[in-house]
Symmetry: C2
Subunit: 595 residues, 2 copies
């Protein structure tokens, strides 16, 4: 198992040098007190927790998995204790509202910590991540009573949360959902139905679990416009906040999965369980999107976090493993050279590095927008952040999870036969990361969301603003000039392609569906190119100014070049596929696919 | 677990319509008696064995795995019985030499069966496949005495075989190997050393195991020119062929792996074990290549077989799973349509189909060349087959295993959340197939082998012959004309690129290493395009002639179009990456990769 080393130096690069988060915090309401030193200190503490507490439990979780018996779920050894330590150290409260016991720190700081948690132990970190999403959702849509009842113990880490969307017959298509809600005289509802794939649905870590459940109130319209959102606690809460009787919620079984074995994926049965409406009746999808959007950004971090973990393992192995001669020779005195000297190994390592560090820039830029959305000084700031975030979220989720899968496969490959052996940990990364392309909306769904709701719905206005920003950065970028020109061409491609799609889709009902995934990937490559160009420009400046951290900045400059020359060109292929139209997918009749 | 359905119709298409194997058998020495009906009958029997005996054991093997205790290895329940049935039914003897109890049928027939075995149960089929490779190698390089001793029980299926190459410190770089061989007075050798990653190294299936072991005779030159090949039986064989005492061979442990759990991956310790030289001393690498080349073609079939298995599962699910509206609607009476109606699901299914069926054409074309190599009527035929096979083998191995990994990932994706759940079997495919890109030479090694030994070594002569053949087929292909033109452009690209590489590599020692993997992929896409064009041309002919199997031929025509428009364009990207040179990989110093 490769020992996880939190990438604190690179996090500091993104936080201070790329995004200047301390300066940005000065513009946020209520975050002005967070200075650079505080930020660095919290980062170091988070790194230590990830490295020393979570990483050692990563393989334990994979090997032990979760166990179900008579409705109870046992998590892997050490998981509960680590969670309690996490809660006691205040990590669950970091960016949560001070009114309910949180520390009120900016979300971007929590986001930097989250990457480390996901890298170190994806399965474990999901318990914390889902609880965090539940807090945000209850805070945004709950009544004062509900917030006062549920938020403090969630923020304290004594309780945890879940999101209950999927049913056996509906995953992507939530309009089909059947779970029922019957109103009671006291204003609560009786929830009945069965949900599947509920992460952290039942476990032995916290004393209570608050399920956020999509259900249909009796008589509600069919489809997504008749869905409401409810908070359904596992254990009822007395008026004084103490725990009462068990609610009608039970875990029917847990799934046996490819990865994230340490996180219990539950079938949850609601049998006339008491639930409390969150937000308006029949507007549950909209309320749930508070949770879904936050989760999508978290999944983007999972994808990127796996890039980092896999890269670290592969890099260490490539420096140690000696096999065949490289040109130039690295160890002339030995019979062979470390494989990091071989071009094809470098291709794999640089792909991982480009994704891990590029994804970090994108994710923290998104987190900065989330800060502005919640704490922006003006409505204008908040609205601008909301629009940009809406555009970037499907790209970050879709692209960085595809990147995570590719990086993890490369990590296995760098290890050769050892990559296939469990004890080295590389194959676990490739199994754990696999779910990220599926949950919180498959990447097909992300592509369609991007193209329809985020690009075409406003006639490309927000996209054009982003493309203009990228264009203008390219135009102003003196060094590295060549990379700026390469990126500018891809920005133009993105713009032209979008214009063409806008027109062409009018005559072809399937053009969007046929091209959405490729569009997502094209967007991801171009966007990551933008961040890599910004990183390279900073690096050029530091190198020119004589910064002594030469290896770090040369690494940035060269990885940016690698990205522009060896990953960004993939965008051209995605363009060609989109332009090939939908007939090559739609003309073949179902019966001609095969038996 | 998706029920495996052997693709007999498509195998017949490749065997009869594409390759005319019955006609080809008339040209082979000793195979003239195999007519089309015999072939079809054997195919049906093989299909039944794969579907009814092996496929039901596939998940059993994954769940139970192999167990090691005190040097003994227990295989999953049912594995040994299935193997005995396989042997009793004569499958292990199919293409083996009649002189030693084989049936003397052409290897291409065995190859068609092998695809089904690998699709149905990769882990199980490896026991048979390795034994087959051992037979070929002993037959090609053993003395008459050794052949008489070892071949009959191997062909009968009472014994099995292995290949022992890898040691802890050497995988790709066999020149570093340390296992020693000390000559004895009786002409045998004492073998001492430790080998790792030995598939089927120890098990409870057969009464003896013949290990083919690479070792260094005392005083031999360093590097690969001092390696010899030995046959080392697990149990010594008496003069009358009965089994004697245990040889000094033992299994020290087995690996816990990502996939192929049903196949024991062993650490094998040789402690002064008696071994018999195969071929000449110090020419062991050359002798072992009989085994390695056969295994590489088998691995290509594993990759392709997983494409088929994953495609079958995904296709069935996509027809059953109902989610959201398609355009046009497939089930207007239901609240949603089967997901096979959605463009992005079709993109995934068609990718799988294009790989599974395209790979089948390539693999059986390779098998036809193996027939010619072994049974060609003239030396000219044999030599021509050897040259072409040498060129195609790394492409088939490398490209079809990458395709297998991609197809398996798509299969998981089509299933959504269910793809991540073990019981559906899709995630097992993605774990089992992963090793194929690594073993029998990683795909990096395949790329370098292709470019250096197979293309540049003869100054592109054999490649040009292949490109000429493809060019001439494109020129003659009247329908589908458009696809022929698309392919012709890619053939020209391949030719130009090779010419450029030939010159450019002289000034850049790392250009080959930097471009080899992309070159392999470009070659694979183009080559598969050639087979798809040939399939489409046949389909056009049959449809024009009014063949009633309309769905089948429309499927071929449309999949060919999909391939040319949505997969073949990837070759352009690979070209661009090769042309980007090696500096973007080599300039970054080791120290700048990160900590």
């Amino acid at each position: 198992m490769p020992a996880y080393q939190a990438p604190v130096r690179d996090l500091r690069f993104v936080i201070h040098e790329l995004l200047d988060l301390p300066g940005h915090y000065q513009q946020l309401q209520g975050c002005e007190a967070v200075d650079g030193d505080t930020l660095n200190a919290i980062l170091e503490e988070g790194a230590r927790f990830a490295e020393e507490v979570l990483a050692p439990l990563n393989r334990v979780g994979d090997e032990h998995g979760c166990h179900w018996q008579d409705g109870k779920v046992t998590t892997p050894p050490g998981f509960a204790a680590a969670y309690h330590q996490f809660a006691e150290n205040g990590w669950a409260a970091l960016e949560k509202p001070a009114a309910f016991g949180g520390q009120g720190l900016p979300g971007s700081l929590a986001s930097a910590i989250n990457e480390m948690l996901f890298s170190a132990n994806h399965a474990w970190a999901m318990y914390a991540s889902l609880s965090s999403g539940a807090v945000s959702t209850i805070d945004a849509h709950g009544t004062d009573d509900l917030r006062a009842c549920f938020l403090p113990p969630l923020i304290e880490g004594r309780w945890s949360g879940t999101m209950c969307l999927t049913e056996a017959h509906c995953g992507s298509d939530l309009g089909l959902l059947r779970t029922r809600a019957v109103p009671e005289a006291d204003g609560s509802y009786r929830i009945s139905g069965s949900k599947i794939f509920i992460s952290a649905g039942e476990h032995d870590i916290t004393e209570n679990i608050v399920h956020l459940v999509l259900a249909r109130i009796e008589g509600a319209p069919a489809g997504v416009k008749g869905i409401s959102l409810f908070a359904v606690p596992k254990v009822m809460v007395n008026a004084d906040g103490s725990l009462g009787e068990r609610n009608g919620v039970s875990c029917g079984s847990i799934e046996h999965k490819m990865g994230i074995h340490g996180n219990a994926t539950c079938v949850m049965n609601f049998d006339g369980a008491t639930g409390y409406l969150l937000g308006e009746a029949n507007r549950g999808m909209s309320a749930m999107f508070t949770f879904i959007n936050e989760s999508r950004l978290a999944v983007a971090q999972q994808g990127q976090g796996h890039c980092e973990a896999s890269f670290q393992g592969a890099l260490r192995y490539a420096r140690e493993r000696v096999q065949m001669r490289a040109e130039p020779r690295l160890k002339p005195e030995q019979p062979a050279d470390p494989i990091i000297g071989h071009a094809d190994v470098r291709r794999m390592l640089l792909t991982q590095k480009a994704y891990a560090e590029g994804g970090r820039m994108l994710n923290l830029a998104c987190a900065q927008l989330v800060d502005q959305l919640h704490h922006g000084a003006t409505e204008t700031t908040k609205n601008a952040a909301a629009r940009r975030l809406a555009l970037l979220t499907p790209i970050a989720k879709g692209f960085l999870t595809e990147a995570g899968i590719e990086a993890a496969q490369l990590g296995v490959q760098v290890f050769g036969g050892h990559g296939f052996i469990r004890e080295w940990g590389m194959e676990q990364i490739s199994r754990d990361v696999r779910i990220t392309a599926i949950y919180e909306g498959t990447n097909s769904i992300q592509g369609i969301d991007l193209l329809t709701r985020k690009v075409l719905a406003d006639d490309g206005a927000e996209l054009n603003a982003l493309l203009d920003e990228m264009d203008s950065f390219c135009a102003d970028c003196k060094a590295p000039r060549e990379l700026a020109q390469q990126l500018a061409r891809q920005v133009a491609t993105w713009r032209e392609l979008t214009g063409w799609l806008k027109v062409a889709q009018k005559d072809d009902a399937n053009l969007i569906g046929a091209g959405a995934f490729d569009y997502l990937m094209l967007a991801g490559y171009t966007l990551l190119g933008y961040y890599w160009l910004r990183a390279a420009a900073i690096a050029e400046g530091e190198l020119a100014a004589g910064n002594s951290d030469v290896d770090f900045y040369i690494g940035k400059r060269e990885t940016a070049r690698f990205f522009m020359q060896r990953l960004l060109p993939r965008a051209n292929q995605h363009r060609a596929l989109i332009e090939s139209g939908s007939a090559n997918l739609m003309d073949i009749p179902d019966s001609a696919f095969g038996r």
